[in-house]
Structures are given as C-alpha cells and as structure tokens.
Subunit: 345 residues, 2 copies
DNA sequence: CTGAAAGCGCTTACAG
DNA sequence: CTGAAAGCGCTTACAG
C-alpha cells in the first residue's frame, strides 16, 4: 500500500479526511489537520499528480513552449530563462508549476503542440516566436485551451497576447537618427516569417513617412536573427551603392556580428555609421563604442504574461479581473555612443 | 462522453480493443487497427496522459532540471537548448517526451526536485550544475528515481554520470602554454560550489606538478561564471605584483569580459598575454584575436546523456546494455591566435 | 466534522 | 481476436 491510503492508515483515519486536510478544505478539525500535515511531511507524502489530474481534470501545470531552432540554439538565448523568474513568481501564488516544452527543430510546432495538449499535461500554454500565420493559435482557440502568446499574429481571432512595442522602438530610433541629420536609414529585419519582422517594418515605414522620407526597399536587409545575421547585414550594407548612414537592428545579438564586420572594413560605429540596437543585452554591453539600444525587464514581462494567461482561465480569472487582454510592452531607450554624432550635411 | 470511450462508441467496438490497437499490441485484427488509427487521427484523439500514467505507473516524461540562477540568466545560456536536440532524438525512439524544469532561483533545488518527483510528473531526471556536495543525488538514489547527472559529485554513491574531461583540458592547456615558455599560468575558476571548479583545479595542479612548477594560490582567480567574471578575472590579474603570462578560463563566456578588460588596459591577448578559453562558443567566435579553446558537440552530449539515463531504467535498459555508466566526455583543442606566441626568456 | 463510495481515463489480465 | 471488468491514486458530493 502506498500513497494517500498508506498515510490514512498510518493516521487511522479515512483517505477523504486526509485529502481534505491536505487541500486546505475548511471542514476539517484543526487538530486533525495538524496531525495530517505533520505526518505528510514526516513520510514525505505528496499527492500523485496523475491521480489528482484525472479526478480534477486539471494538471496545475503551465507550459512554456520554446522552439529550439538551430538558429536560436547556436546563438544562445537567455530570453526564456529570463522570463521564468517572473512567470513562476505569479504561478506559484496558485500552486501552479511551470514546465518548458522544447519543440524539436525537426518537428512541426503545431503538431508538437497538439500532442502536448491532447496528452493533457498542461492546463494552459504560453507561446512565443509567433508567426504571421500561426496555426497553433487556431488550434488552441478551437480546442479552448487557455493560452497567451508573446507576439501578435494574424491568426487565431480574439485572444490574449503581449507584444513588444516595435512601433515605439521604430519611432524612437528613426526620430533620433533623423534629428542627427540622417536620411538614409537601413534596418536589419529577420528573414523568416516571424511576425515581429512585419510589425517593425510597418512602424519603420510609417516613421519615415512622418518625416517625408521615401521608403527604399534596398535598405531593408533580410538576415537571420543571430550574430551571424548581424555580420551579414553589415556585409550587405557595405556593398550598397548609395550606402546608408545609419542602421537599426531588430534582434539583440545582431549588434555583435555587425560590429565585427564593420571593424573588419574599418568602419567605426558612432563615427562613420550610426547604429541603434534592439533589446539591451548583457552580452552586447561589452561592445565598443557602447550601443544605443532599448531596455525592458524580462522578469516584469514574465509577470505580465503569467497574469494575462491566468486572466483567461476560469479558475483564476477572479484574481485577474482584467480579462483576456492585449498589451503593448514598452521599451525604454538607452543612449549609447554608437549613434552619437551629427551627420555633416 | 469523451476520450477513449467516445472513440470506441464511434467505432462501435470496446475501449479495450481501441487501446490495444493504439498501443500497437500484437493481438489486434489488422483491419480493426487501421480503422482505429484512422478514426483517432480524424477525431484528433490522443490518450490522456493522466489516465495512462495512473494505470501504468509511468508518465513517459523525462525531466531536465535547470537552475535559473541570476548569474545564468543574466548571461544567457544556450547550453540546455543545445542539449535538447540530442536528448530528444534518443527519447523520441521510445515515445518519451522531454520537459525542462526550471528551478526558481529563490527555491532550494533539492526541495524543488523532491516536489517534482513526488508529484510523479517524470519517470527519470537529468540533473546539471552538480555541486560538490549535492543532496539531490542522495534523494534520488534513496527514492530510486532513475537519473543521470551532468557533472560528478561526491554525493550519491554509485550513480550514472557524464562529465566533461576537465583533467584533459587542464593538461592540454598547461602543456601547450609551457611549451611556449610560460611558467606563471593563472586560471579563472568559478567562485561557487559547483564541482567542476574543484575538478579543474586538481587537474591544473597535477599538470603543473608534472612540469615541476610550484602551485601558486594567488594565480587561482575565483570569479563568477559569466562575462562579468571574465572581466573581473582580468582586472584582478592585472593587479598582481608578479603578473602571470598566461591564463586559462573555465567558463566559455569569461573570454568576452576578459578581452574587454585587457583591451581597456592596453594588454593584447596573444601578444602580451596568452589566453586559453574553455568551450568553443559561437558568441566567442567573434573575438579578435581568435581564441584558443576546446570543442565539443552539445548534441552528441545530449545523445549520450539520454542513453545513459535510459540504461538505468529497467524498461529501457535492454536497448542500452551498457548499464549505469560514468563517462568522461572529451573535448578537442581548437588552436587560435590568443596563445600563439613564444615567451621571450 | 468524518467516512464510504463514486468516478476521472486509461491499460491489461482474464475469459471466451 | 474481442469484450467486460478491475483498478491505478486521487477528490468530492453525499450521508450521517
């Protein structure tokens, strides 16, 4: 005999009472509860999750899906680990555990997600790397699994999401560069179908328009979201006939590769070319000259993601009355030396 | 009605036959099996994991425990994502799923592990960041949960582990530096209680002894396993009265911070100071001059970890007859420019 | 306040 | 080859 039955026998009471005591139900004698709690600690008893899940229909587990693409893996990405702290601080309030689900790079993300959901190992999902057309969202909407995404999509209809303020970043960056006299401003955008690339490009176009500058497609450099991509972007930019005087990057690690290619070519950031990076990154802090970029708290973002998800789950919605929400997450400009020069006109 | 019952009703057969067909049991009529399989796909049926787990006593899930310490998080760590590909390629052979379990930095790792194990959400565990004294190993040994660790420990008695060949790295690095005329060789070792620091230090001492060089404790720089730690190591080294002519690093990202501090001080790696880094890292590939370091395949290591774990699990041991094993994982030296100069004597 | 019992969704001996 | 039934470990109406 094992499990709750053993514990009940040990205490010479019924398993029902043990369960109620352990789960903090009100109608349990205070002394009985103490005895049960003490015995549970003593015998190291913790309720088997499969038994609970089967009975309750919930697993008390929230999944964070990650796509371990080759690109991500090779370049390192502390993004997810950075989120977990904030996520867990919220989830632990409700005794929910967080697990990370790495989708193998050779498996279709939608199929992987379907498998995980159908197996019933999570009560809710947090998705990232949202694609412009993302079948995962339709699937989750259809099967009524609570979820929140980091990143907007054209798919999925009404759903909860949080996304970075790409529009704001594009505006700040373009305004700043134009104030310094720049007119030819390139951007390095991801070459895949991730939605943020499209959103950023739109923001960039609108910002240019506001300043009466014509959009030049040749200044949009499509590269991988990686250091190598940054290197590639610099390389392609240097080959342009009418070379831009400034560049905005849309992935944090691009700056490292970009600096390297520029250095090879004798082009000095902040003197010969204005560079504005994306998210502030410890690894990019060591760049010389220091990079102008944007700051945000991964932990706070994790908190917001968790609260937004819980707001969509009936069992927790009362605690988070805001309901399923869509949030644009602000980033704060951190001035560096990489764009601190006025263009001679 | 839902689940297997609904599927069975739809097909007008018993749930037992549905289950047997789905699970590939031999004693099912071929045509029946086809019908079941087709219907399952059509209706999107996948067996509920809680039901299976409860009945079978296994979850078909393997956990990879990660400690998202502040240090790790801030510096980014693609190490785990790099392992997942190899891990999953093995686990998927047996229809096992991999989940990553991030231990919150404010929770005791042993307690976190106990909670996860007691809840019964995994059949086996992969541990990392092994400490010299690591209570997790004793706990897992005691409760007979199959596990493998990345990193040796003094705890836990007989158990399966894989560890990097720190001794080999120390030997190669020291031999190489001494061949170039170096006698004062510093090392930057982690300041926490992680076991690899101790093992590396031992290897380093033995290598020095082999060459008849006295060990000088002041040349052991205890710093954080991060870029900042590398910066700190360079800083401390520059303050030493009798400055070393070479330094060996024990964490891959230290090189980046170290280079930065050296550059600030006008000390050029590969000319004024020989530097040998640890694991080859895409992020460190951009360093100039190129870093001498050690290469290994994270994917292959993932494969080995998974196979070693499965060898300890009765249900899978027949496929991996090597049994619970201890493996020293080799690393291959990749010569760079950072130590390619002969010391004038 | 407590106990006895039902039942969550599966898999698997067992009977035929 | 298939069906009927037991039972994995829990929680929770229900009865007292």
């Amino acid at each position: 005999m094992k499990g709750i039955r053993q514990l009940a026998k040990h205490l010479d009471i019924s398993i029902g009472t043990v369960s109620r005591a352990l789960n903090g139900k009100a109608d349990v004698n205070a002394e009985t509860r103490q005895r049960v709690l003490a015995a549970a600690v003593e015998l190291g008893y913790v309720a088997n999750q499969s038994g609970r899940s089967l009975r309750q229909g919930t697993t008390n587990v929230i999944g964070l899906m990650m796509e371990s693409s080759k690109e991500t893996t090779e370049n390192g990405d502390n993004f997810f680990l950075g989120l977990t702290g904030g996520l867990q601080s919220v989830l632990s309030r409700h005794k929910l555990d967080l697990i990370m689900l790495p989708c193998p790079s050779d498996e279709d993300p939608t199929e992987y997600l379907q498998r995980m959901v159908a197996r019933g190992i999570v009560d809710g999902m947090i998705l990232s790397a949202t694609q412009r057309i993302d079948h995962r969202l339709e699937f989750l909407s259809r099967t009524k699994i609570p979820f929140v995404t980091l990143g907007r999509s054209q798919s999925g209809g009404q759903y909860a999401w949080i996304d970075l303020d790409f529009e704001g970043v594009a505006n700040s960056a373009v305004d700043r560069l134009i104030a310094q006299g720049h007119r030819r401003i390139a951007i390095a955008a991801p070459s895949n179908d991730i939605n943020l690339g499209y959103i950023f490009l739109d923001g960039y176009k609108r910002a240019l328009k506001r300043h009466g500058i014509a959009f030049d497609p040749s200044l949009v450099l499509r590269v991988k979201s990686s250091e190598q991509g940054g290197y590639q972007a610099a390389h392609e930019m240097l080959l342009l006939e009418d070379r831009p005087t400034a560049i905005i990057l849309i992935y944090e690690l691009m700056a490292i590769g970009l600096y390297r290619r520029l250095t090879e070519a004798g082009v000095i950031p902040g003197r010969d070319l204005a560079v504005i990076g994306f998210r502030e990154e410890p690894r990019a802090k060591f760049l010389q000259p220091t990079l102008t970029c944007f700051r945000m708290s991964l932990r706070d973002l994790g908190v917001e993601l968790a609260e937004t998800l819980l707001a969509t789950m009936p069992a927790y919605a009362p605690f988070y009355p805001k309901g399923p929400s869509n949030t644009i997450w602000p980033l704060e400009l951190v001035p560096g030396e990489s764009d601190s020069f006025k263009l001679k006109s």
